[in-house]
Amino acid sequence: MGFLSFFSKPPRPLLQLHSGSFSLDRGGRVLATTLPSSFPPALILEIGRCVVDTFRDAQTAQLTLDELVVHYPGLSITARELRGGALVFLTTPASSLSTPKLKTSPL
């Protein structure tokens, strides 16, 4: 059976997801974050890019959105549109039972 282990790949280490928030400007640059420094910056940028692009595409489709909420089993992303940029909250199921409530007044 040792022969078969030759073909098996080592398991990929599981990414530790964290709760926290960050803000982005309209160019997709991170302005501020409360996420731990261990959280890969490239992933913060990737999340931010998805959120900003989705807001922008919604506007093109004549659908004006102020808030986006994305649910995965292991993470919820709540994003509020911020003058072309976004304020993004990440919530893991362990950290909270409910998604953060966002203020409706202009930030």
């Binding site: 999340i47 998805c50 692009d53 989705t54 093109t60 489709a61 659908l63 986006l68 909420v69 993470l75």
Partner: protein, 356 residues
Amino acid sequence: METRHKILLVDDDPDLLEVYRETFALLPSHPEVHTAPSGARAIAMLEAVPYRLLVTDLKMPKMDGLQLLSIVRRKFPELRTVVLTAMVDEQFRSRVYALGVDLYWHKPGTESEMKQFMECLESLLGRESEPGFRGMQSKSLVDLVQLECISQSSSMLRVTNGPFAGCIWINDGELIDAETEAARGEEAFQKILRWRAGNFEFLRAEPGRARTIFKSYNALLLETAQAFDEACNTDISASAMPGQAARGDASGLTALAQTDGVDFVLRITAETKVDSRGLENPDRLAGWTRKSLERFRALGETLQAGTLEQVAGLGGRRNVALAQKGQAALCVGWRQTFRAGEIRDRMKKILTLWAS
């Protein structure tokens, strides 16, 4: 002398064990209630003494509830099993029922839920002494209702379909009442009978139940079948209207659009065909739906956060929610007053309807 039934209660929370031990002891049949703090201890106790009923939590350290149930099903096939859990994930319900469990119940949060749960337990204990077979049946609800009515039985048929639950009361072979999400009587009966898949259980009859259905079961079953056929035909004719592209659609898109709180429904099939109800020009929204779902699906993979469940977009004029099922995508427009949490819950129900 009549022997008392024995119940074994398994949970890793000692406080909860104590509360449920005292509560179960109050059941009308006065069972002996024993407790075990772990799956391993439970198996040792089951091997030592014959029990009638096992009530277990799912989330436990070392041996979890699913592991315990699979061992129990193999070693003690006669034992009735009940899962009592705080987990609301529907996949667990399906997995548990696939293991042949008699009852899956969320930990009761209110007095009435507790009362209903106790009635189910009593019914399970009582049924033990009655002869008969048990197991999973692949029967339609029509078959089940006919079976109960023809045999002049009295029972309460409890049906679940994902997050939906409904009850049908039968007394002496006559349909007397039905209840589901904000509907009662004939309307509720028809709603329940439209579900195509789910789980069912027969519980003890309620002879004092007020009657709201006065038609014969045959007439009602016929009416329900006719209404279902008409709904399918409406779907087909509606899909021939401008802006509603797909033809021959009997998949219940109209029914989804008629759900309370829904403004519009848009579906993109695996062949990228766009089909909608309540939208004048669905193409732009379809493009955004497809793009957004693909974007967040890929993000979920990168983050290793699991399969994308839903995307909700809230705006001053419109609220939308998106979801995927295989290659198909769904975009639902929700009433503008709904908050994100409410949209998520309602969308779960829509997805269950879509799946069935």
